[in-house]
């Protein structure tokens, strides 16, 4: 019965009739994804459809030649952060998340060997994966997007796309970054660990509460998120008075408008962290280093975060680390100009814009 439906949909989607049994027949390997689902993938994977921006970034880092397209095409200066070969990939929309914009029939016309989603593996996404897989006949794999599991997720993706050696290399690289920084961080006395406020939006009043994926990196950097006191949650809105009450040591943001505002705003500028110049704008080329979207792009952000929080220990070596990271994961050799553009003013200590 499901086979009939698949065939019918395959026909409507423009997929050649014979290709549907072909996909099923070629399912020589069954790989278990992060949600524990056994996904049947063809022996040779040549094209992968990313379900959303985090998946497209993860896949680009691992095997850019397999990308069917970008969920959201890079715009303006963001393009300077990836290899030119992949500038021209088409925009294919999102299949999941808040309001999918990809059309299932378009997906089928593209004939990917695999649909990949990277992020939450909660029941909503599992059921969505099962539905899309049943409708299109294309295997759909879910990979855990939590920062802690980056290395493991690289291994899983390596198995899925039939490139275990690249998977192992990426996993090892990621683990080296995380472990190396964790060891250095462990040496920092608890008393020196700053209390951080992460401000989003043009007014800086949106923040990630305890457990929000947007602030996951703070824990890894040994910092305290002041908004933890607001309890568990995702993104929330807080008042200026609350932030003054929290009195953070450092303010982080990804929003250039907020970064401009904070130095001149009547209230923000009275915050001791602002007076001390400890406000940092995260680099965002090609993707955010701290957040936006919360994918494996945050690996380099961890070193950056440590550099702005503990400049004495970590600022040195950030540029080399960034060059190495972009070369290995973003397939791009950074020259000095481009590196300076990416780091930008305001993203690191030594160039604070004091009020």
């Amino acid at each position: 019965m499901p086979l009939h439906r698949r065939q019918l949909l395959g026909l409507f989607g423009g997929l050649p009739f014979a290709a549907v049994p072909g996909v099923l027949r070629a399912a020589g390997r069954r790989i278990t994804d992060s949600a524990g689902r056994a996904v049947a993938v063809p022996d040779r994977v040549t094209k992968v459809f990313p379900a959303g921006p985090p998946a497209s970034i993860f896949l680009y880092m691992m095997a850019p030649d397999l990308l069917a397209g970008w969920s959201r095409v890079l715009r303006g200066k963001e393009r300077a952060g990836i290899a030119e070969t992949y500038h021209g990939l088409p925009e294919i929309g999102r299949l999941t998340g808040r309001g999918g914009s990809a059309n299932l029939e378009t997906v089928m016309v593209m004939k990917p060997d695999l649909i990949l989603d990277y992020g939450s593996v909660k029941p909503t996404y599992i059921s969505l994966a099962d539905r899309v897989q049943a409708q299109t006949g294309i295997p759909y794999a879910l990979i855990d997007g939590r920062f802690d599991n980056i290395a493991k997720s690289f291994l899983t993706l390596g198995d899925l796309i039939g490139r275990p050696e690249r998977g192992r290399a990426c996993a090892a690289k990621a683990q080296t970054i995380i472990d190396g920084l964790a060891a250095a961080r462990a040496a920092i006395p608890t008393a020196d660990r700053p209390r951080v406020y992460y401000g989003r939006g043009a007014d800086g009043l949106q923040t990630g509460a305890k457990g929000a994926i947007n602030v996951e990196l703070l824990g890894h950097a040994g910092a305290v998120n002041v908004a933890d006191q607001a309890g568990e949650g995702g993104l929330t809105k807080v008042s200026l008075e609350q932030i003054l009450g929290w009195d953070p040591d450092v303010v982080l943001t990804t929003d250039p408008n907020f970064f401009d505002l904070i130095w001149t705003h009547d209230v923000w500028k009275t915050l001791p962290a602002v007076k001390a110049g400890r406000v940092y704008l995260s680099p965002t080329v090609p993707w955010g280093w701290f957040d936006r979207p919360p994918s494996a792009n945050r690996l380099i952000g961890l070193h950056w975060l440590l550099a702005v929080l503990y400049p004495d220990r970590f600022l040195q070596g950030l540029a080399d680390r960034a060059r190495d990271f972009y070369s290995f994961f973003y397939h791009l050799d950074l020259d000095a100009d481009r590196l300076a553009m990416i780091l930008g003013p305001g993203s690191h200590p030594g160039n604070p814009r004091k009020p």
Binding site: G52, P53, R72, R94, G97, R98, G99, S101, R200, G201, A202, D203, L205, Q206, A209, A227, Q229, A230, G231, G233, L235, T236, K237, V238, S239, L240, E241, Q242, L244, G245, T254, D255, P256, N257, D260, L261, H265, D266, V267, T270, D291, R292, P293, P294
Partner: protein, 344 residues
């Protein structure tokens, strides 16, 4: 008939009582918040603000009270009174109790302007500016459309229909931008804006908003006796010498100006403009010259109270639009029930 002097004296006393109640509430609301400031410090800081006599308080406490709480309380008063006065005016103009300030598309227009600014990653001042301009633009468009298709139809009906149509188009525009927005960056900002909040309001925002509100409400207060005549219907009002078409235009322009200037700083805050005029009507009756001041008083007090809960009840802000419905609905039902009892 009572002598005019008695009537005026009674009005004066009532006005003083009303303003006294607002001042008292303002002080009470200024004492609560997430940042600990003692009651006596709040009193001293406010006294210092009023008289200019320097008081011995910490700079942090002064910043919290004078730069955060006072502008926020003042903006709650301003937003509440502007929305409810605009609501009462629209209800009178359209002779319909179900009308709210967004009937002519001002709220959805302002929403589209703000969402577009967020989509283009513009700073806060531009978000407010675009909300204001788009709010006014939407109503101008509605008015132009209604003039163009007027013909033999009832002018009020045409105006309301044009408002519904333009409002729907603006809503669709918001939906398109929401759909295209970066879900990891802009979408949360859009959602928060559409829920309404006074969290980041400063004196400079207030400075931009209040002249426009004053410009809108001033004529309404002066014309409030004439508004009564509109309730008789166009023909009767015209027979009494009122140019209804012109009066309606003036009232709509005034109410729209007030609404869009406060929506620009506060985001979408529904419900106040619909409900407060009704509550005021239960208290002082439908006569517009009394209804408008009562509405203004009740609207400002109401939003001041609700916003105080929104900012002080929990560590994170409770969205004003959400709380507004949760607090406003039971309150309104209670008043409704009470009013029916007393009418019997």
């Amino acid at each position: 008939m009572e002598p005019a002097l008695v009537i005026w004296a009674r009005r004066g006393v009532l006005a003083m009582l009303g303003l006294g109640a607002v001042a008292l509430l303002f002080f009470a609301a200024a004492t609560v918040g997430q940042f600990p400031v003692s009651l006596s410090d709040v009193a001293r800081i406010l006294w210092e603000g009023l008289t200019g006599l320097p008081q011995d308080v910490s700079d942090r406490a002064r910043a919290v009270v004078m730069d955060i709480r006072v502008p926020r309380l003042a903006s709650a008063l301003l937003v509440g009174l502007a929305l409810s006065a605009a609501g009462a005016t629209y209800q009178a103009v359209f002779r319909n109790p179900l009308v709210a300030p967004d009937i002519l598309g001002v709220t959805s227009g302002a929403g589209l302007g703000a969402v577009l600014a967020i989509f283009l990653s513009l700073p806060v001042a531009a978000i407010q500016g675009m909300a204001f301009v788009f709010g006014l633009g939407a109503v101008t468009l509605v008015y132009a459309v209604s003039r163009a298709v007027k013909g033999a139809h009832d002018p009020i009906l045409v105006l309301v229909l044009a408002g519904v149509v333009i409002g729907a188009v603006m809503g669709a525009g918001i939906a398109v931008l929401t759909y295209l927005a970066d879900p990891y960056d802009q979408l949360p900002a859009i959602t928060f804006w559409l829920m309404g909040s006074l969290a980041g309001v400063t004196f400079s925002d207030l400075g931009n908003a209040w002249p426009a509100v004053a410009l809108g409400l001033g004529p309404l207060l002066f014309l409030r006796w004439r508004v009564n005549l509109m309730s008789l219907g166009d023909d009767e009002a015209r027979a009494l010498g009122v140019d209804t078409e012109r009066l309606r235009l003036i009232l709509v322009v005034c109410a729209t100006l007030a609404t869009s200037s406060v929506v620009a700083i506060a985001g979408t805050i529904g419900w106040v403009g619909l409900i407060i005029p009704h509550m005021a009507r239960f208290v002082v009756g439908p006569e517009f010259s009394r209804l408008l001041p009562a509405t203004i008083l009740m609207g400002s007090v109401y939003l001041l109270g609700v916003d105080t809960i929104a900012r002080a009840a929990t560590t994170v802000e409770i969205p004003l639009g959400v709380l507004n419905a949760f607090v406003g609905a039971p309150l309104f039902l209670w008043v409704l029930a009470r009013a029916r009892l007393s009418w019997r």
